[in-house]
Amino acid sequence: MEKTPEQPSQVAPSAGPTPFEPRLVAFLCKWCTYTGADLAGTSRLTYAPNVRALMLPCTGRIDVTFVLKAFLEGADGVLVSGCHPGDCHYTAGNFRARRRWILFRDLLDTLGFDLRRFECAWISAAEGQKFARTIDTFTRSLDALGPYEEMRRLCADRWPGLAPAGRPAHPPADAGDQAVAPCPELAAAAAQALESGKVRVVVGWTASPTLGRPRLAWATTPEEASCLAAPRATSGNLARALRSRKLRTLEPIGLVVRASEIVSLTVLWQEGQLDPGKLILFTFAPGGEFLGVMDLAAAREMLRPASADQQPSRPAPFSPEIVARLDELMARPPAERWAFWRGQFDRCIKCYACRQSCPSCGCDRCLAEKNQPQWFPSAADGPGNFAWHIVRTFHLAGRCTGCGACQAACPCGLELNVLGAAMARSALVHFGYTAGADPQAPPLQADFKPDDAERFIL
């Protein structure tokens, strides 16, 4: 960051200081902007030669991971452009793209990324002039900003994760180290449900002699149910257990839940990932008392958050501490935010505990493990960690419930819940959407409104 544009960049050829030529990658929709760019040519307009255009059928096809990839590959700026709202050849691709851009920009902003390097524009097939003007303006602006050193440095510093500095030990085992005692009411209710055949399995917590905190347990017989314990505030999110295909063969399933699991289950319900009719909930109040056996709708009703919690800027499921942390972070200048997150991601060892603990992360094969194409480096190094956390957070936009299981599971103590909170706030502020608030509402990224408001698209 202290480096000035005059200094040769680390990846530039060593043949002396060549003048800086901004590298601008543009993703263009075939029907409008690509045709508009052709029109600029047939009209013999001239514009800066720095743009490298990639044609796609529709802005709806533009995955934000492409944008990330372009930066990782050395772009100084990225432009995404397509048909004006309402003109999409495929009716609504640009509306969906717009929703993603709004969320993605907010994510980049949270990370302290320089938003001036990511432009979005509606340019029609008739707007050759606008295309030429947009490229010229963007190139000039990138010229003034200089090469994207932060990203290049990130890519040049391989393997910072091995640096010992600042990596905390594994978070201490459950602080309240009293023995995990079985919960008799729960055990009785579970035994009865198993006996009567109302459920075929009850998934809950039980004492673990080695962990010093409760561990996951499946009870399939009334006898096994006797070991079930009450969940603690620090326990993970049991909704994750439903990702097990083996468990899914044992429907109907009984699940020991707290408020956080209920929100996560609602998200799964919303996405069509579970049939609430095949789920029986053994519900605990936030205070730890056993509320009884009920279905998801009843549990939602019982644990509905007090309406006073619903402040416009605070996404409901997130704790005030996390939101305060986000506010504190967002008050810092972008460069400091970038430095903060670099420090965070440098500690990541890519163990994927965050992914494995999350009830919303449920792909059969994660993007991080695909190598055709290799979306981002699989190593736990600068670009690999950076890309992983961006993609993970974006994939959870509108789906993260703020349960904090990822953060609790992280052995490196990354503040992952703050990223989740940033996306949840973005969803709330721009689209009035709260994950798990309404089981009937379409999921955030499956939906759009023709008048989704933004102020950054040119």
Binding site: P13, D38, E73, Y90, E271, G362, C363, C366, P373
Partner: protein, 674 residues
């Protein structure tokens, strides 16, 4: 290693003036996978194409990158050339060096550098090109027309005359739609029923039209060429095969005071009956809501009166499935009722009527036998005030559009009134008069000049009853907004045309788009005005937006010709640039996890659910599958897929990432270094 040939076109001087084409070819030779690279003056010329064909055969190329003009210009040309040499056409890439490089840059060095990078990205992309074959879609040569108004009748008749079988679905008991309700039609003043009813009969008796009256579209599945449509035949409680339409039943029906829907509530009807005497089919329907037999089980007079025993009180709705290859939506419109205008005498005064009600008053088959009489007391009105634009062109009421037909029909109404009652005073309150169309303005001039209809440019504010008459309060907008009060015996509102109340529901069933007002959307308002974005579905008439009869008929014929054009081919060939879901042999099967985010974003409902089972038939998992017949290749599903288990042919993730990587490569090694 891929064997890719790069061909750089000079395009005469068009590219060569600013780009060093030989230099680009030389630089291309260094790129990984490139087996040959040449430049040529005009690649699109015959010798140019021969050069490409020869290289494909001689060098044994597995892919071709043509660096020339925009792919929108000659992609097809070069793909055909590749195909002629035995290469799959989809292995041919076009790098745009003209429109997006040589024509827009002046510095030769910079332009050449950019050209090399563009070619490099396309070479990288070309290495991941897959040979694709067009999607072949079988074709069911039958059409469905939804809606039996004039649009549907015209489209059905035109299609049937073209030799194709048509299923014509009409939800009311009879064909005819709104046109059957009209008295005379502008600008010729010919009787609406006189010109329509022969067409109705023709459609009802045509050998290739299957009329499903009193039926509704329940569900639509499939895609262009292969739709499966479930049609709900609503219970008529009359066996149409036995019924002869003799009328004995409705003469016996004791419920004689029901308001006639066909007469817009101005006339009477019975609980069993046909909507109007010329109905097609001429078979009655029992109105279950008002039938005494259904309410108390103590009537059955129609059943006793029926000479052929056609009355069947136990009849149930019946679902039939039809296979069709194309669908024409001709579902028409509604007009706003007067209850939408509380400022006009609370919206329920009998002497404030809508234009459609006036049509019934003016119609010889109407409740007054064609005499203009006030609904309240049957008197002939001495002054009739017509209020135009009632509900149209009112952005404040959420309808910014012009209903288009009201200026003309109001002029017609005023004329008809004057013709039927010579001393009458017709006064029209209008915002503007819009009479574009053949013979339309002449018609309006006749109304004002020969028949003395008084037009006042004004905005109407209120209508209230006063001493047995009505007072219309309006502001004269021509002369400074002066307030006027006009006394009238009858007020006729030219109420707005609005979409059918269930238009959106049907659009969702059909998978077609609609605008913010609820009118169905065409692909392009000028160049593709009758096609929907979903292939194989066409639009006719006012379901797309306000239209008069000539436009409706013209569009219906256009839709019919589109259907016939579609059916002219033996089978449908579609571009293979469609999405596909990852599949692999066991134990992976597919990396699709079955979250169906793709299904939620697909605008064409092209995502299906596929169950993967083991040999014993146990379900392993449910994954997405793309119906290539429905997919239009937008790729929205690919961006929505978090696992990247779905990909778009021609624009695969690998191709795009490879192109991005190629751009980075040039970042490290600028062309000058070579």
């Amino acid at each position: 290693m891929a064997r890719i040939g790069v061909f750089v076109c000079h395009c005469g001087e068009n590219i060569a003036r600013t780009v060093d084409c030989a230099g680009v070819a030389a630089a291309s030779l260094e790129m990984p996978g490139v087996a040959t690279a040449v430049d040529y003056r005009y690649l699109c010329s015959d010798p140019g194409q021969a050069l490409i064909r020869e290289a494909i055969v001689k060098v044994g190329l597995a892919g071709v990158v043509i660096a020339s003009c925009s792919p929108r210009m000659h992609e097809k040309t070069f793909r055909r050339a590749a195909e002629a040499a035995g290469l799959n056409p989809y292995l041919c890439e076009i790098a745009n060096l003209r429109e997006q490089c040589s024509w827009v840059h002046t510095d030769r060095d910079q332009a050449t550098r950019k050209a090399i990078e563009i070619v490099r990205a396309h070479v990288a992309r070309a290495r991941y090109n897959a040979p694709l074959v067009p999607v072949r879609v079988p074709l069911t040569r039958r059409a469905l027309v939804v809606g039996g108004g004039i649009a549907g009748i015209q489209a059905a008749l035109d299609i049937a005359e073209g030799g194709v079988e048509v299923v014509l679905v009409e939800r009311s008991p009879s064909l005819g739609g709104h046109m059957a309700q009209l008295s005379e039609t502008f600008p010729t003043l010919d009787c609406s029923q006189c010109i329509l009813t022969p067409r109705m009969v023709e459609a009802g008796t045509h050998g290739r039209i299957r009329l499903e009256a009193y039926s509704e579209v329940e569900k639509v599945e499939g895609y262009v060429g292969n739709f499966q449509v479930s049609i709900r035949r609503k219970a008529r409680y009359v066996d149409p095969n036995r019924c002869t339409g003799c009328g004995a039943c409705w003469q016996q029906c004791p419920m004689k005071k029901l308001k006639s829907v066909f007469d817009e509530g101005l006339g009477k009807r019975t609980a069993i009956g046909v909507p109007f005497p010329q109905a097609v089919p001429n078979k009655p329907v029992i109105d279950r809501e008002n039938c005494i037999q259904f309410k108390t089980k103590k009537c059955g007079r129609c059943q006793k009166a029926c000479p052929v025993g056609a009355i069947d009180f136990d009849q149930q709705d019946d679902l039939v499935t039809e296979q069709v290859g194309a669908i024409v939506a001709a579902t028409g419109f509604q007009v706003l009722g007067k209850e939408a205008f509380p400022l006009y005498a609370d919206g329920d005064h009998p002497d404030v009527i809508t234009g459609l009600q006036f049509e019934r008053l003016a119609s010889a088959s109407g409740p007054t036998g064609g005499e203009i009489r006030r609904p309240s007391d049957g008197e002939i009105p001495r002054t009739v005030v017509f209020i135009q634009c009632a509900g149209s062109r009112e952005p404040a009421l959420g309808r910014g559009y012009c209903s288009k037909i009201c200026c003309m029909y109001t002029a017609k109404h005023a004329m008809l009134y004057k013709h039927k009652y010579h001393p009458g005073r017709p006064i029209v309150l209008c915002m503007d008069v819009r009479t574009g169309g053949k013979g339309y303005d002449e018609f309006w001039r006749r109304a004002t000049e020969q028949d003395g209809v008084l037009y006042i440019r004004s905005r109407s504010a209120r209508v209230y009853p006063s001493g047995g008459r009505l007072v219309v309060q309006a502001a004269d907008t021509l002369l400074g907004g002066e307030r006027m009060e006009l006394e009238a015996d009858l007020v006729v509102l030219a109420t707005a045309m609005v979409p059918q109340p269930d238009a959106r529901a049907l659009a969702r069933k059909l998978g077609i788009g609609y605008d913010s007002d609820g009118w169905y959307s065409e692909v392009h308002p000028k160049l593709r005005p009758v096609e929907c974005a979903s292939a194989g579905i066409f639009l006719a008439g006012a379901c797309q937006g306000p239209k008069d009869i000539p436009e409706t008929v013209a569009q219906a014929s256009a839709a019919a010709s589109k259907v016939l054009g579609l059916f002219a081919a033996r089978e449908l060939l579609r571009e293979p640039l469609v999405s596909r879901v990852h599949r692999a042999p066991p134990p992976v099967h597919s990396i699709c996890g079955g979250c169906f985010a793709c299904e939620q974003v697909c605008p064409y409902r092209a995502i299906e659910r596929e169950e993967i089972r083991d040999r014993k038939g146990n379900l392993i998992k449910v994954v997405a599958r793309v119906n290539a017949g429905l997919c239009q290749g937008c790729g929205t599903c690919v961006a929505a897929c978090r696992a990247k288990a779905i990909d778009l042919e021609g624009f695969t993730d690998e191709q795009i990432v490879a192109a991005l990587g190629a751009l980075a490569e040039s970042n490290v090694e600028p062309a000058g270094a070579r």
